[in-house]
């Protein structure tokens, strides 16, 4: 039996759960989804319709409202008996509680699984994806976080799995939620976006990033940046794509005025199509780009915006 811990905001299921369920399908056919939250029945109903899900467990209580890791880990430990796998998406949600759960169960956890070779053998990236390691896990219960970009989303079907309420473990009382400040943007989130437009030192200043916003709007893209652009103060740190920033793998990645330091390439080289726009024809970014355009970005980007707007109309 496989337990998948659903990621959600109490109102709707996050797509990362669908990718995680696809990974679960490769491991076996008895998939149970745990929905822990507060007033999250809707999420449980959504989970019941996912292909391959045999049962949904609903833990609905105040202490799960913000999915604090201390409470989530205690709950999962209580439910763990009988499961051979426990899976969560390798997002900031899954990374927060699954290692804690593993320690409480005295087992290891494998992070960012990108391929399942055998029931106990997994491939995961190390060195920000500059190397891949194949590991064989010896624990009787296997805890894995799943790299969402490596597995297609599971289908939503007409089937309805049963939903059952599960026992609640009391609040550990170790931490409490204060506030949340989610980026209010019509743009998709950087690590989940289908298209990412990134700027580097070549953007010259913070003001010029407005041009990238226009480009991103045309493509329904998220905006990223190189470490150089972040260090120069053009954009905040959470824009940073790279080994020490965010790792992205969109369908289309457009690198603008980015030279292509190793540290940046490590964070975006798994993108399906990479476009590089840079005035230096010898910039290393062109070595990983599918399509490179050498020239002045201040001429190319506006021209690109004009062309993209034509398609929209």
């Amino acid at each position: 039996m496989i337990l998948v811990v659903a990621e959600h905001d109490n109102k709707a299921l996050k797509p990362s759960t669908l990718n995680t369920i696809t990974a679960a399908q490769q491991l076996g056919n008895s998939i149970v989804v745990l929905v822990a939250g507060r007033h999250c029945e809707k999420v449980a109903e959504q989970c019941a319709n996912i292909a391959g899900v045999t049962r949904v467990m609903l833990a609905d209580a105040d202490c799960y409202a913000h999915q604090l890791p201390e409470n989530l880990a205690d709950l999962i430990v209580k439910l763990a008996e009988g499961f051979t796998y426990i899976l969560a998406p390798a997002t900031t949600f899954g990374k927060n509680f699954l290692p804690r759960t593993a320690a409480l169960l005295n087992v290891a956890q494998i992070s960012e699984v990108m391929a399942i070779i055998a029931p106990d053998t997994f491939v995961r990236p190390i060195y920000a994806g500059n190397a891949l390691t194949t590991v064989q896990l010896n624990d009787p219960i296997k805890l894995l976080t799943i790299r969402t970009t490596a597995f297609a989303p599971a289908a939503i079907t007409e089937q309805t799995a049963s939903i059952e309420k599960c026992a609640i473990v009391e609040d550990a009382g170790l931490s409490s939620f204060i506030s949340q400040d989610l980026t209010q943007s019509a743009r998709p989130e950087l690590t989940a976006a289908k298209v990412v437009v990134s700027g580097g030192r070549g953007m010259q200043n913070a003001d010029n990033f407005k041009m990238l916003e226009e480009l991103a709007d045309c493509l329904h893209a998220a905006i990223g940046a190189s470490r150089a652009a972040v260090d120069a103060g053009f954009v905040p740190n959470d824009y940073q794509v790279g080994q020490t920033g965010k790792v992205v793998a969109p369908q289309l990645y457009i690198a603008i005025g980015i030279s292509g330091a190793i540290q940046h390439i490590a964070g975006m080289k798994d993108s399906k199509i990479i476009v590089a726009i840079n005035k230096d024809a010898d910039a290393p970014i062109f070595q990983v780009a599918d399509y490179g355009l050498v020239g002045d970005l201040f001429e190319i980007v506006p021209a690109l915006i004009v062309e993209l707007r034509k398609i929209k109309h």
């Binding site: 949600f93 190390i126 298209v195 540290q263």
Partner: protein
Amino acid sequence: MKIVVTAKRVIDFNVKIRVKADQSGVETTNVKMSMNPFDEIAVEAAVRLKEQGIAKEIIVVSMGTTAVQETLRTALALGADRAIHIQTETELQPLAVAKLLQALVQQEKPDLVLMGKQAIDDDCNQTGQMLAGLLHWSQGTFASKLIVENERVLVTREIDGGLETIALKLPAVITTDLRLNQPRYASLPNIMKAKQKPLQVMTPEQLAVDITPHWTTLKVTTPPARKTGIKVNSVAELMEKLNQAGVLA
């Protein structure tokens, strides 16, 4: 307040790593090594708490061969008061590291453990959470802001969609993200002074911790290389290529 902070020795983030021909791992001989950048941020956070008068003592911990003592000296030069080296030749997996830290915490009784959110070599992002679990302490992962108030710490966390602020009851484990601070450089006088600061060596056996690996690495490989792309000459040509690739839909 007493703080334990971790400092892992890893291949420097600027080095282009090479996978060994026999697929047994990544080449580390004659490669520049440095402190894990996320741990540097953790050390800086600890030093700032001391400068603010909140922390009284900072103990820095590293594990591995004698070479990690160099990393410990760096942390001492940055402002840690004393260092502990847990000496072992065995490859340590996150659960083993967490158990070793648990044993040290039980000896040292700190109020706060600060660690990088992950090491940039194995990219596990597990040890802080595991340690917090083993100790039954609160945890604040991916911290971009810390405010210590009496018996609690307010931690702002970087989550996928933005920021989240939580309050942790002390003692706590906090793992650091990039935005928390900009680490300082060690000054030459401080590098000299660091040589005199105490550095204690222990072994996993002395701490009575089982460090048996839970997984076996079967092979380490280079990811498939991207096929060489092409240069396009105009925006129009780029648009045509992107249309063909079906990424503008």
